[in-house]
């Protein structure tokens, strides 16, 4: 009888495992997680990395909208605000004035602003930078190549995304979605803390 009892235990366990495991998987699988990936995130979502735990930003060399060469390593020693944007993207257009103000304010304090224009033609991007008077250069990145390189280190999952890199070339924080003035100033101050 003991053997029969063991068999019963095994059977009942198997059945319960199927029921519970299946219910768990079924609830996990009905995803809330499906997103329109290339879509735009309208509100900001800030992420900060504490000093000493900051990932190293990947080196890249790219061409700007006007044809000049841009290397990330050439910005070492300065804090960099790297903004991923597109002229087709309403939140990017919405945050552009904020970024312009920040560029004016912090540009003289050793903060460099750099744009990465994704999913765009150069003509459309230049039309936008001209009409909004963007003063800093932007990388011409229609194929999201720089985004891919960067995503190995920090998830650039939406457009717009703004990344703050500290003076030593490490990622100090990022904002997913359109930035607000307050978020950026906080990030910039935190980035300045390097110990």
């Amino acid at each position: 009888m003991l053997r029969a009892r063991r068999r019963t235990v095994v059977t009942v366990t198997a059945v319960v495992a199927v029921l519970l495991g299946g219910a768990l998987a079924a609830t996990l699988l009905t995803e809330g997680g499906g997103t329109a990936g290339g879509g735009t995130a309208t509100s900001g979502n800030a992420v900060t990395y504490q000093a000493g735990h900051r990932p190293l930003a990947p080196e890249f060399t790219a061409t700007s909208l006007t044809g000049t060469t841009i290397k990330l390593s050439s910005y070492r020693g300065k804090t960099v605000v790297l903004n991923f944007w597109g002229s087709w993207c309403p939140p990017c257009r919405d945050e552009a004035p904020t970024l312009g103000v920040l560029a004016q304010q912090y540009g003289s304090q050793g903060v460099a602003f750099l744009g990465d224009d994704v999913g765009d033609t150069a003509a459309n991007a230049l039309a936008f930078t001209r009409s909004v008077h963007v003063s800093y250069p932007s990388i011409n990145d229609p194929g999201y190549a720089v985004v891919q390189t960067f995503s190995q280190v920090a998830p650039v999952s939406d457009t717009p995304t703004t990344v703050v890199i500290d003076k030593t070339g490490h990622v100090a924080g990022m904002v997913l979605g359109a930035v607000s003035y307050g978020e950026m100033t906080t990030l910039l101050h935190q980035a300045a803390v390097t110990s």
């Binding site: 198997a14 299946g22 699988l29 919405d94 039309a127 390189t149």
Partner: protein, 569 residues
């Protein structure tokens, strides 16, 4: 299914084979006190429950095929809401627009699998047990078996049985001879029992367990895999990142950094169409010429993605799903500077002729355009129509708007729709453009030039780690099915008694099988009996009237049909 716990020594409670089992176990709860768990158990694992659940599964799948489903066609679901405003919300509450992800559907198949497991696990134990126990003793009177025959042998009984055993062993039967177990003491006769066909139950269990494997593989794929879409115009490239993809549906345990780091450029897309005959206009071939790099900095390779021919990169597959036209426009603002220049994807409204709709947004010149593009255009009563899907005579008809496109407020918009609430038309009627032509807008607002035509493709990028396991389990299920249908579990017994006269013996061979899906045991038994008889010298058919046993062969004749149950003939 009878009680799991106490199989009686002589009883195997359940038959093997996919086509048979014990009768539905609708037993009442036993009188002993913890009655209801056992009763629930019996109900759950009974064949009748399996039957009901199978029906439920079939019936519950029907609305998933008749109503539009969120997972495959969200636009159709929206349309349904529009056309059935009263009914649609109720159907939505019941989950009928996403049947296969609904909890009640999951409940049905989970219960079915629970019932399956509750059946299969005890049967596996039983199979292992029966594989270890030797076949039963040969019954005394083999003539009562469904299949039996006898013959006279010149050999003494022991030798005759040995010969029969050798034949059976040669056919890979499992044998049992007297004296192997203690209970045989009383039976002094000469006999051998043989059994074969355990693969049938093995096949049955394999089939059912493989179904469970398929379910697990599907779940694994859903949790760890992802699906994504990307629309790509000729000349464009993209890297496999979440921001580049138009749609991204990750499994729950997938994050953006799990994406394979490839990048791809669409060099050229070619679509061929049938140009004459009854199928004129039907597509004949699609070819997307792409270059790709498996990781940043890797060497570029090229591939032609076709409809039944996806590209495999790194265990991710890229499929060609659809295509369309992307006319290229250049828009200049009032001061003449270029405000927009790009090939703009238009969406086909008619899949046969590829007449397509799209919009051009030039927010930096405060201009927007709604357009209809035709690849081979003719004008019918003033409206533009397309008569052939290839771009033989492209034309575009535009309605221009000027004003605020609403793109600076931060609210997301569809790239295929123009929000004209804060805009006004620049002219009353649509303006037709052929390639190379420019429309200078009235009022000095700017101009738009129809530069040329490119094509776009829509690609699906999918990663499904459960795909290969699901296939393997499917094939195993099929193998198990075939085994369970076409292998028979059968038993053959041979008994020899000394002959009434002379030195030989009378050998009787009997056989029985469980129900035989494919038929053919009769032939097999006949051949076996003949082979046993033929394996020794001096054997021949028994004479009629011997011990009055039914079923004796009659030389030269056979009993007339229909008299099978009458003894003696």
């Amino acid at each position: 299914m009878t009680d799991v716990q106490t199989p009686q020594p002589q009883q195997e409670a359940v038959n093997g084979g996919a086509g048979e089992a014990a009768g539905g176990g609708a037993a009442e709860p036993p009188a002993a006190s913890p009655g209801w768990p056992r009763w629930v158990w019996r109900q759950l694992t009974s064949m009748r429950t399996a039957l009901i659940l199978l029906f439920l599964l079939a019936v519950c799948s029907i609305p998933g095929s008749v109503l539009p489903q969120q997972g495959s066609d969200p636009a159709a679901v929206q349309q349904y809401f529009g056309s059935h405003p009263g009914l649609a919300p109720w159907l939505n509450h019941l989950g009928l627009f996403n049947v296969f992800a609904a909890p009640w559907f999951a409940a049905v198949y989970l219960l079915l699998f629970a019932s399956l497991v509750g059946c299969v696990v005890p049967r596996t134990f039983r199979l292992v047990g029966s594989a270890r126990t030797p076949p039963p003793r040969a019954p005394r009177n083999l003539d009562r078996l469904p299949h039996s025959s006898s013959y006279r042998s010149a050999l003494p009984p022991a030798a005759a049985v040995d010969g029969a055993a050798a034949v059976l062993a040669g056919q890979r039967f499992r044998l049992r001879r007297p004296g192997q177990r203690g209970s045989d003491q009383q039976d002094r006769g000469h006999w051998v029992s043989a059994e074969k066909g355990y693969l049938r139950e093995v096949g049955n269990l394999l089939f059912h367990l493989s179904l469970l494997g398929v379910l697990l593989s599907i779940a694994a794929g859903g949790l760890f895999g992802y699906k994504a879409d990307k629309l790509l115009v000729e000349g464009q490239s993209f890297a496999d990142t979440t921001s580049a993809l138009d749609e991204f549906h990750p499994g729950r345990l997938v994050s953006g950094s799990d994406l394979a780091p490839f990048s791809m450029t669409l060099n050229k897309f070619t679509a061929g169409y049938v140009t004459s005959g009854e199928s004129r206009g039907q597509p004949s071939d699609f070819d997307a010429d792409v270059s790709y790099a498996a990781s940043p900095g890797a060497a570029a390779r090229s591939y032609h993605i076709r409809i039944n021919d996806p590209l495999s990169v790194d265990s991710v597959k890229v499929y060609l799903i659809g295509h369309g036209y992307a006319p290229e426009f250049k828009v200049t603002g009032p001061n003449g500077s270029v405000a927009y220049q790009a090939a703009t994807p238009f969406i086909p409204a008619n899949t046969g002729t590829l007449l397509s709709d799209g919009v051009v947004k030039a927010p930096d010149a405060s201009l927007g355009f709604e357009g209809v593009f035709v690849p081979t255009g003719i004008s019918v009563d003033g409206t533009l129509q397309s008569i052939f899907p290839a771009a033989d005579n492209p034309a575009v008809s535009l309605i221009g708007y000027s004003g605020n496109l609403g793109m600076d407020s931060g609210q997301s918009q569809s790239v295929y729709q123009l929000d004209t609430t804060a805009m006004s038309k620049v002219s009353g009627s649509p303006h037709l453009l052929l390639p190379g032509q420019t429309w200078t807008l009235p009022g000095g607002k700017g101009s738009i030039t129809f530069v040329g035509v490119k094509q776009w493709v829509s690609l699906a990028v999918t990663y499904d780690p459960g795909q290969l396991p699901a296939l393997v389990c499917g094939i195993l299920a099929l193998a198990g099915l075939l085994l369970s249908f076409f292998v028979r579990r059968r038993r053959v017994f041979v008994r020899a008694v000394p002959a009434v006269s002379g030195t030989g013996s009378l050998v009787t061979v009997g056989g029985l099988t469980r129900s035989d899906a494919s038929g053919g045991f009769e032939e097999e038994f006949a051949e076996l009996a003949a082979e046993i008889a033929a394996a020794e010298p001096g054997s021949g058919p028994g004479t009629p009237g011997q011990a009055g046993q039914a079923g004796q062969p009659e030389p030269g004749g056979s009993p007339p049909p229909g008299s099978r149950t009458e003894p003696g003939a």
